[in-house]
Amino acid sequence: MSWVLQSTELEISLEGGKTFVFPPLELLPGELVLLQGNSGSGKSTWMHALAGLLPMHSGHVEITGHPIYHASSPTPRGWRRHALGLMPQRAFFWNSLSLNENLALAAWSKGLTAEPAPLGRVGLAGKEGQSARTLSLGEQQRVNALRAFMGTAPVILADEPTASLDDMHAEQLLHLFREILGDRAMLVSSHDARLAPFVDRIITLP
């Protein structure tokens, strides 16, 4: 099976002089991969490097069907719009907007013209006009997931999606990922051991 994301060894230097070297990575279609490691091991840094949010010293990232992102060159124009779906640890909803409007803002940011998927898809039908503040953390992460899966990006990167969730909500979220994943590949960073039974593969950072 051919990969949807392939990355060479990536070298990243953060402010303050801390340097990370991440191993080569391949993600396959339909694959749900858990990136494990202790706090400070560089999970978020690796995810952000893969997403082009951090400048790299060396290496490159390729997502099938999209331009290659090389170290020391800017992220290809419009790359994140179409190649990646991002699910940051904090959902960062606009409190000034309703849930539906937050989804519309995400679609607009990604340059999508199609209507966003309905909230009913993540079990939140009827809450479209509400503010995200009225939702529980588990519900917020479901909307966060719906936003990340918007469009046709072949790769989804989720940073600590279960960090603040109890067991039941964490399990629900993992089931949701599996349900809407389809042919995409998903890399989930977490130090949460509860996720292990639900994923296809585990990568552990030292």
Partner: protein
Amino acid sequence: MKALHFAFRALWHRKATSFFVAVIWALGMIGLAMTTRLERTAEAQLTRTLEGTDLLLAAKGSPTQAILAHVFHRDQASGNISIAEAEKWLSHPDLSHVRRLAYGDNYQGYRILGSDSATWNGVSRQPILGRWPEGALEVVLPRSIAERQGLALGDHFHGSHGAVDDLGDHDEHHYTVVGIVTPDQAFWNEVIWTSLESVWAVHEHSAPEYTAVLARIESPMTRLMLPGQIQRQSPLMAVSPAMEANRMVGWMNQGGAILRLISWLLTGIASLSMFLLLQSHIRERLGEYALVRAMGGTWGQIAALVLGQNLLLALLAFALTYATLALAYATSQWWLPAGFSLYADLWWDLQPDQLWWVLHLFLALFAGLGPWVWLQKIPLHRALVDS
């Protein structure tokens, strides 16, 4: 349009501070708009009223007071002038449209103005109800005085001595209302017309005198020379209203310049407030903006979100400004000095506003430029992790 919707919702979320900034912004614009309009109105009122009046003969005194008293009927006369002396100059061949005035008494504080048919024929007005005076002690009232005093055609009243109401009555002389008019120019609403003969009849123990004479001078050269000649060769004061009007406009413009400066200072404060409001909002919601960029939002989209907020605030300020102007226009009768009126064509002429529209829009966008560029420079990784 979507960007403006999101920008609007962001403003609505902090509506009190947004409205406050728009109000400060509007205050600057209202200052500019009102100053321009009032200057133009005053200038037009002077120009339109003084049109056809190139010479004013009156008793020696202040030229400005003479214009206010005898053209706008808003001040006291400095005295009367001899009919013989005035007529000597009025025979000049270049003079036309000569209007002779004699101040009479007052009725309930309204001046009874003795004048000739040349004066009332020159009053721009709606068709008269009744007729102009044909005999002594006949008067024509402006509709406003008639309504306020409850007077109708055929009613009688007697005046009080002098220009104010408390110097004794002329009980033996009863005026009869023979006409009611609606003048176009507001200052005529404060005057009761009668004939010169009426005024002289009421003051039968004094020799007939004029209070002032107004005239048009046909020749430009005479317009320049004659007032000076009269000043030098007679006891009369000869005023060239056009020149005096230019001086008055000059004073008004100086006052206007100070008001404009204050308005621009307010605009500067509003611009700074707009910048601070936007900057603090973005710092507070940094993660949200960073995510828009992280999801693929372009420079243009971020600009639309950020600058759109300032643009909407500026538009709100524009709306507040023109709503205030409309309110000011509708209520002008309560706040304008009596005898003055606004001209709709000048008040709603937006052409002079266009320069400050552009400058205000530019300032609003400029106030958003810093936050927008800053937002483009922030490291997304840090913003998403640390916010």
